[in-house]
């Protein structure tokens, strides 16, 4: 007999209940109600496999990486580099040396801005971003432009939340040095046509950096097929710990770039007069890295691969469709962002209730959603709202949880009307 969830949406290719058992945090109660975690675009929960792997590493295998000539350090270094290989494979990178670990996407974008940007972008040059970027993919470019006298151009979006590609074509020109856009918008869920964006930028002679913070947990990424120059990611958005993330960079580009943070580990030789630097990726990984977090990231990738990222994306899409249907039926609710290509998140606005009040009411029902501007104030301004509430889904969510979300939103409307 089919269970309730399969009656509501197409049956997933994996056992959601079994998967939920892998995530210890999901079995808790909040305000006496079962936790319904729908803030996955902000950060994701960790499966027991990741937690256990890090525990084992910390209790049995921990040592410094890349410097000790003793067993523990050698083993630690080997595991650390295995995680780099897993990340490279996960993104379809040709070699693991093209994966640089940073604290997350924010630092990865700053690395590109400070290292590549300061060397190759000058006065009068142009950088293109879009109107639906996270502040992390806006502010570093503003700072760079201010410093260098470069010009920041912005691809507009239509009412549905899709980039206006004709405008992008117009913005591209001989002065364009870099295009930096997200793969998936964290505020609206829009999946951008990055393959086309990359091809056109290359035709114009520009490099391309893709902010992949929101895409890597939900869809198959192939940086070789995309042909992007940089692709960033955040571990904590893909079921790994916080404090780890990084970027893919084409080796031919990375090799031309100066160090961003300097110190130990990234040098070949240091005299008091001059230092010479390691090749990538070491050139960009000064200091002792977050070792356990890297091991955790490797385990999270194994976990995602075991389920299958395509199957994950398919199931999440059916949750999106189901949730969109439910929320569209609520009078007075406006969904912000209705792109044809969308990841599994729903940003919404109620006439009578401010997003922060919505969050508090939903929390009383055990439902965790985000309310605010999602670090995307220019996006909010574009749609004429101060903030939105956002429910973002993962493969561990169930259609019943979206029923509960809709009921709680109705309660909200009743309270504030």
């Amino acid at each position: 007999m089919a269970d309730a969830s399969t009656l509501k949406i197409k049956a997933p290719a994996f056992d959601v209940e079994a998967i939920r058992k892998d995530f210890p945090i999901l079995s808790q109660k909040v305000h006496g109600k079962p936790l319904i975690y729908l803030d996955n675009a902000a950060t994701t929960q960790k499966p027991r496999q990741v937690i256990d792997r890090m525990y084992k590493f910390e209790s049995e295998e921990y040592g410094t990486v890349r410097r000790g000539a003793y067993k523990l350090s050698e083993r630690s270094t080997q595991l650390y580099e295995e995680s780099r290989q897993k990340m490279a494979d996960f993104l379809g990178a040709p070699t693991k040396e093209e994966i640089i670990f940073t604290s997350g996407t924010t630092q990865a974008i700053n690395l590109v801005a400070y290292s590549y940007g300061r060397k190759f972008i000058g006065a009068g040059d142009e950088i293109i971003i879009s109107n639906i970027e996270h502040h992390a993919n806006t502010v570093p470019w503003q700072v760079l432009c201010e410093e260098k006298g470069a010009v920041l151009k912005v691809i507009p979006v239509n009412d549905a939340g899709e980039l206006v590609m004709e405008e992008y074509d117009r913005l591209l020109g001989p002065k364009t040095k870099l295009v930096a856009v997200n793969h998936v918008s964290n505020a609206l869920g829009t999946v951008n046509p990055i393959k086309e964006i990359i091809r056109k930028a290359h035709d114009a002679g520009a490099k391309v950096m893709i902010d992949g913070a929101q895409s890597t947990p939900h869809m198959k990424i192939d940086v070789q097929d995309l042909d992007c120059d940089f692709y960033t990611f955040s571990g904590h958005k893909m079921y790994a710990p916080s404090g780890i993330g990084g970027l893919f960079g084409k080796m031919e580009v990375l090799e031309t770039m100066p160090p961003y943070v300097t110190g130990g580990d990234m040098i070949l030789q240091v005299t008091l007069e001059k230092s010479t630097y390691q090749k990538p990726p070491m050139r960009f990984e000064a200091g002792t890295p977050p070792i356990s977090q890297v091991i955790g990231l490797g385990e999270a990738i194994d976990y995602l691969n075991a389920i299958g990222i395509e199957k994950i994306g398919e199931y999440e899409h059916s949750l999106l469709e189901y949730g969109t249907r439910l929320l569209s039926d609520i009078e007075g609710l406006r969904i912000i962002g209705q792109a044809r290509e969308k990841a599994a998140l729903i940003s919404f606005y109620l006439e009578d209730a401010h997003p922060h009040d919505i969050v508090t009411i939903l929390d009383e029902d055990g439902i965790a959603v985000r309310g605010g501007h999602h670090c995307a104030q220019p996006t909010m301004k574009r749609y004429g709202v101060p903030a939105t509430a956002r429910a973002s889904m993962s493969f561990y969510n169930k259609p019943e949880e979206l029923d509960a979300l809709a009921a709680s939103i109705q309660r909200c409307i009743k309270i504030f009307s």
Partner: protein, 150 residues
């Protein structure tokens, strides 16, 4: 202690829907702009203070959540007719109450209706919402520039 811990009480919801003194005061002697960059709550508070240091009129305009709006609304109602020094004392007590440092049922205070907001202490992320209007009013009295809370 027998105060109501519920956050969204009827009075708060009513002040949100129909805020008092929700208007600009053209000839205000004091005004200030308050903004919370974290959530976008944005208000301007106007005060008219006479030669005797009495707040003769208080008003506010802007947008934000139910907590910030109802708090600003109740604040303007409370401030009218108060001496500036007294307003500062009440702000201090209000601030301590929402932080959980003052128990309005036990500790001496002049909070009156403002006790409604005692439940805020159970919601640490909302304390800034309840105090934004107050911070802005005090900034107006201090004649300081725009203020932000986050």
């Amino acid at each position: 202690m027998s105060y109501n811990k519920e956050l969204y009480q009827r009075v708060i919801l009513d002040h949100n829907k129909n805020p008092k003194n929700f208007r600009e005061i053209k000839n205000a002697t004091h005004s200030s702009h308050g903004f919370n960059p974290l959530c976008g709550d944005d208000y301007t508070v106007y005060l008219t203070v006479d030669d005797e240091d009495v707040i003769q009129d208080a008003g506010f305009v802007g947008a934000g959540c139910a907590i910030s709006k109802s708090s600003a609304s109740l604040m303007t109602a409370v401030l009218k007719g108060k001496k500036v020094d007294e307003a500062r004392v009440i702000f201090d007590e209000f601030h301590k109450m929402v932080l959980g440092e003052l128990d309005p049922e036990k500790d001496e205070n002049r909070l009156g209706k403002l006790k409604l907001f005692v439940g805020i202490r159970e919601y640490p992320s909302r304390i800034k919402c309840a105090s934004l209007g107050w911070h802005t009013a005090i900034a107006a009295l201090d004649k300081s520039e725009d203020i932000t809370t986050e």
